[in-house]
């Protein structure tokens, strides 16, 4: 009897030990799989074998319309070119996409290739999660075909970790009927003209959602502010410089005069809603014009952001396509990334409002003839990128914390910006 039970106990203990051993060895495996050298070897050596068919996993956050276009038009083009490589396109919801990608780094279950937000590219690269595409021989030539601004968002420590996939920026969305009430026909050419007209109205004419970077940078830049030096190395002397303080002061004045409202500060109506009835203008990306015929028929048009002191400004958005370091088929994934940035694909996706990133398409007929896309392409010329930094999330927080202090709690502009600039210096270094 005892022997039997002893054996049972022994087996049980072995099982426990065994499982614990499995636990401790598992992370080691993950380490080995994700060694950066390993991926580079793959890049350097074998050209992708044509024999074995395989699958590439592609993550994206396309909406319904874009996904349809991608599946029905773009994928068949790829399948014709590379019948041996199946693309498994996985649509992720936009809400927690960044968090999903971070998690996938930890679990080693990343996609082979993904469409990622331009602002996160540097952070993923700094974590060692992406393949440096500039190591490929043909990259040097490829590089010159892209628009400067979108391309630069892939840069991290001298290497390019992705290709620009689509671009966008904010432009002015205008309710022409309300503008008319203000005495302006169509879109105002200058901000000065608009302010003079809206000052007397007594209710808010211009709306922005919140105090975050994407919301306030266009205004900040438009009114003459600057975040850092050109090389993005220092914020002190720029973010807290006289021009920047004046820019914030201009916004505060407009806010006090009831020209300009910040939804999250004043509790005012959301712009997508209020533009139909109360606001004359707000700045938004091209997705607002998803079904632009309908918007235009309601008298809501797109225009470049009116100039202030003779200068327009906006913020660049958009996505890059990046190859993940954990991919077993980095060469094929790079091939797919190049395919996605080819003229034919860029034009196909443009039909659904994904603005192209190729120099060759800036003056393309389809773009120029469209009443909305043409505006956004023109606006891109005066649009600036956010600070490309692996610390993007923290920088974003410094900015919105400072703006909350100023706009909500009425803190002193100069003092707040000086403190913010010092914090930002630490994050840029």
């Amino acid at each position: 009897m005892t022997f039997k039970k002893w054996t049972a106990l022994l087996i049980a203990m072995m099982m426990v030990v065994g499982t614990l051993a499995a636990c401790s060895s598992a992370p080691a495996e993950a380490t080995a799989a994700a060694e950066p050298e390993a991926t580079q070897e793959v890049v350097a050596s074998e050209p992708e074998a044509t024999a074995e068919p395989f699958t590439l996993v592609f993550w994206h956050t396309y909406g319904d319309g874009e996904e349809e276009q991608f599946k029905n038009v773009v994928l068949p083009m790829w399948n014709e070119l590379h019948p041996e490589i199946t693309i498994e396109a996985v649509r992720q919801d936009g809400g927690q996409y960044h968090e999903m990608i971070v998690t996938s780094f930890g679990t080693g279950q990343s996609p082979d290739v993904a469409r990622i937000d331009i602002v996160n590219t540097a952070a993923y690269a700094s974590q060692g999660g992406l393949v440096a595409l500039s190591d490929y021989e043909d990259f040097a030539a490829l590089k010159d075909t892209f628009l400067e601004g979108p391309l630069s968002t892939n840069l991290y420590q001298g290497g390019y970790y992705g290709l620009p996939l689509d671009t966008n920026c904010k432009a002015a969305v205008i309710n022409t009927a309300i503008m008319k009430d203000l005495g302006i026909e169509g879109a105002p050419a200058t901000m000065e003209e608009f302010i003079a007209a809206a000052e007397t109205r007594g209710t808010y004419s211009l709306n922005v959602s919140g105090v975050g970077d994407w919301d306030l940078y266009p205004y900040f830049w438009l009114f003459g502010g600057s975040l850092t030096d050109e090389g993005f190395t220092k914020a002190s002397g720029y973010l807290d410089g006289a021009d920047s303080v004046a820019a914030i002061q201009t916004m505060l004045d407009l806010h006090a005069k009831k020209v300009f409202t910040i939804r999250d500060v004043d509790g005012s109506v959301d712009a997508w809603d209020g533009i139909n009835s109360e606001y004359a203008m707000f700045f938004e990306g091209p997705w607002f014009f998803g079904s632009y015929e309908e918007r235009l028929s309601q008298g809501i048009i797109a225009a470049t952001i009116p100039t202030y002191n003779g200068r327009s400004a906006s913020v660049v958005g958009g996505e890059n396509i990046a190859v993940f370091a954990t991919s077993k088929h980095t060469d094929a994934a790079y091939e797919f990334a190049k395919f996605m940035t080819s003229e034919a694909v860029q034009l196909a996706m443009l039909e659904k409002g994904q603005l192209p990133v190729l120099k060759s398409l800036v003056n393309n007929e389809t773009v120029l003839n469209n009443p909305v896309w043409s505006v956004y392409m023109a606006q891109l010329e005066s649009a600036s990128a956010r600070i490309p930094s692996p610390n993007n999330e923290q920088i974003k927080q410094v900015w919105s914390d400072a703006m909350t202090e100023i706009f909500v709690n009425g803190a002193d502009v100069q003092t707040t910006l000086t403190a913010a600039a010092q914090q930002m210096d630490g994050l840029l270094g």
Binding site: A26, A30, V57, V90, Q92, G95, T107, Q109
Partner: protein, 293 residues
Amino acid sequence: MKRNLRGKKAGDTIAQVVIWTILAVSLIIFSVPFLFMITNSFEQFSFVLPYPPKLIPTQLDFSAYKYVLSQPFFPTAVKNSVINTSITVVLSVFISTLSAYGFARIEFPGRETLFKIYLFTLMVPSFLNIIPQFIILKGIHIPGTDMNLIGTRAGLILVYVATNVCGHTFFLRNFFRGLPDALSESVIVDGGGHGAIFFKVMLPLSKPAIGTMSIFALQGFWEEYFTAKVLVGANESMMTLPLLLQRLHGQYATRWEWVFAASILALIPVVTLFILFQKKMVIGGLTQGSVKE
């Protein structure tokens, strides 16, 4: 005497009316969010919210429901949610019932320490566990193939079951402790062991308690989002209702009527189950113990 009785009866009626009124008013206030949800699921917003906000439905427009039901992944999501939830509930309740019996009725060295550890795990935030859990799933290979459990239903269910063992064990252990010893003694007299006691005495006796806990557990698994997102989020054929709901949310702006319609559709099964089983639920014996020990 007679008058006194009548007076008492009248007093009772008044008391009933008062209680009824208090409860009814409270319930109406409590229901505002639901009313709001139902009303607005019958609207057509296209990103514009109605003014004034509507609390009472003014129209019965089912187009939001039609939209949700016509989503290509809706049937898949329903199927997956039903399958995942049912298997998870059965497995986790069975394993937890076994554990609870072990902790409640069998003496073994280290029992209290082990149980304290179980309790402690209930207090530790579970978000960060997802990465090591994932690594373990990756290490478990499906026999006969070179596939591991990531992205599979089995993997998801395994994690669901495992992460709920501690809580369910705690819940059921107290119930087993409350059952009189005399019952199991009769089995022992007949020469039966713990297995016999468990299957012949404990299980039949604790059916209502187990049922109650199953209902509680079911609600939790039905709405689970985070783990499903991480473990099977890259596999659209594994989509569940909470994942679909999140997708309807939209990237730039919310179509509230879709979200609300989908929410109501997802709610119907759990509410129905609760209404059907609420009379049979027993909780009394389950809550007698305490976390301390």
